[in-house]
Amino acid sequence: MVIKILGSGCRNCMVLAENAKAAVAELGLDCAVEKVTDFAEIAKYGIMSTPGLVVDEKVVSSGRVLKPGEIARILEGAAR
């Protein structure tokens, strides 16, 4: 599973990345959390508000800083 955080490096993006890592650790998954900071790259996902969360190339949220619990639920759904 590949998790990407879309955002220019603002505070919210960093918090979201931390929360995603916490969710990954909680579920005991073996996957990296990558940050995408290039605007052209971000635009390719078609989101208009950062931060965005991408799981296996699918945008699962944008414009919100999800809590670790919420991310864990999304990841569980995606793993199934």
């Binding site: 390719k44 208009m48 699918k58």
Partner: protein, 339 residues
């Protein structure tokens, strides 16, 4: 009318709080309110509490409204209009769409890529940070409703005018090519379809927004009120009026040029404007400082530079700066009509 006036005084201006803080400073700290130190402390405590109280309530309420207007939806609505009416609508939607300067680039790309003209995109980008519902109510609390409404109206007019001029200049070739060529898909969650949120979702969103925005702006507010308190009581009025007085032709020019590169929130700049006006600075001068700070800033200009070429960037900054100055001089000339 008197009931409304009373509500306005107590809820917006919070006269009860001013009184309470006055009592605290006089009887607990043992300081005379007329003294410099007492006056500064009262201004600081009262303004900080007032702004945080208003902000918490306002942002919660306004985020609820904003949850109905995610940028994806705004983009869709705007796509249905064209020409001048699209610019006006963009400026108006800019006041209710949640906006954070770190999102301005994806937003710019999203709008442009969807085929929206530059005029519409820029009208939105100007009005979004400049005017929002929270600033309207805070302005009303400090300067009264007439001034607050006038501020919103000129802010929207500025956004529409600047956007229209940029659109008429046909500068599409000065947008970095990758903005047009990036294939954006509406893949993913079906965003833009406005995933049907429940009332509970919206309340959670509003709560998160309130906490996040206050976390982001609290330092700006404290610093702003601190500067306001200093202006209020420690910097001689003669010094301030010599620089920014009503009768000085260069006052608006100076206030705008100082404000433009600064990056701060409107909530942090309001107490500074309040103190300046109390010291005899023209309302227009104070407003152009505020508009300069909120509409343009060095960080946002540097960010925009990644998607537009210099000529368009210079034009954008130039038009907005000139517009703010015109608004400043107009308020100084006709502001007395609002009092």
């Amino acid at each position: 009318m008197t009931v409304l006036g009373w509500l306005n005084d107590q809820l917006l201006k919070m006269e009860w709080l001013a009184h309470l803080v006055g009592q605290l400073v006089e009887h607990v700290f043992g300081l005379d309110l007329a003294s410099r130190l007492g006056g500064s402390i009262q201004f600081f405590i009262y303004d900080v509490i007032k702004i945080f109280l208003l902000l918490s309530v306002l942002i919660f309420g306004i985020s609820y409204i904003q949850s109905f207007f995610p940028p994806e939806r705004t983009k869709k609505i705007l796509g249905r209009f064209n020409g001048f009416s699209a610019s006006v609508l963009a400026a108006l939607l800019g006041t209710v769409t949640p906006f954070c300067s770190c999102s301005s680039i994806p937003l710019f790309i999203g709008f442009t890529n969807a085929g929206l003209p530059l005029s519409v995109t820029f009208s939105f980008l100007i009005s979004s940070p400049l005017v929002d519902l929270a600033s309207l109510i805070l302005l009303a609390s400090i300067f009264g409703w007439a001034t607050a409404i006038a501020y919103v109206v000129v802010g929207v007019v500025l956004a529409v005018t600047a956007g229209t001029i940029i659109g008429k200049s046909h500068l599409e070739s000065y947008v970095e090519p990758f903005v047009f060529s990036t294939p954006t898909c509406a893949c993913g969650t079906g965003e833009g379809e406005d995933p049907s949120l429940t009332t509970r979702d919206r309340l959670v969103y509003s709560w998160e927004q309130a906490i996040e925005i206050i976390r982001r702006v609290w330092l700006h507010v404290v610093i702003g009120v601190g500067i306001g308190a200093a202006i209020h009581n420690w910097i001689p009025a003669t010094f301030i009026t010599a620089l920014l007085g009503q009768d000085k032709w260069y006052s608006v020019l100076l206030a705008t040029l100082v404000g433009v590169p600064m990056y701060a929130d409107i909530f942090g700049t309001l107490p500074i404007a309040e103190a300046l006006v109390a010291k005899g600075v023209g309302l227009g001068t104070a407003l152009s400082f505020m508009m300069g700070v909120t509409a343009l800033s060095l960080p946002s200009i540097i960010m925009l530079k990644r998607v537009v070429k210099n000529r368009l960037l210079v034009m954008f900054v130039g038009i907005v700066t000139a517009g703010i100055m015109i608004i400043g001089y107009a308020f100084n000339a006709f502001g007395h009509l609002l009092a």
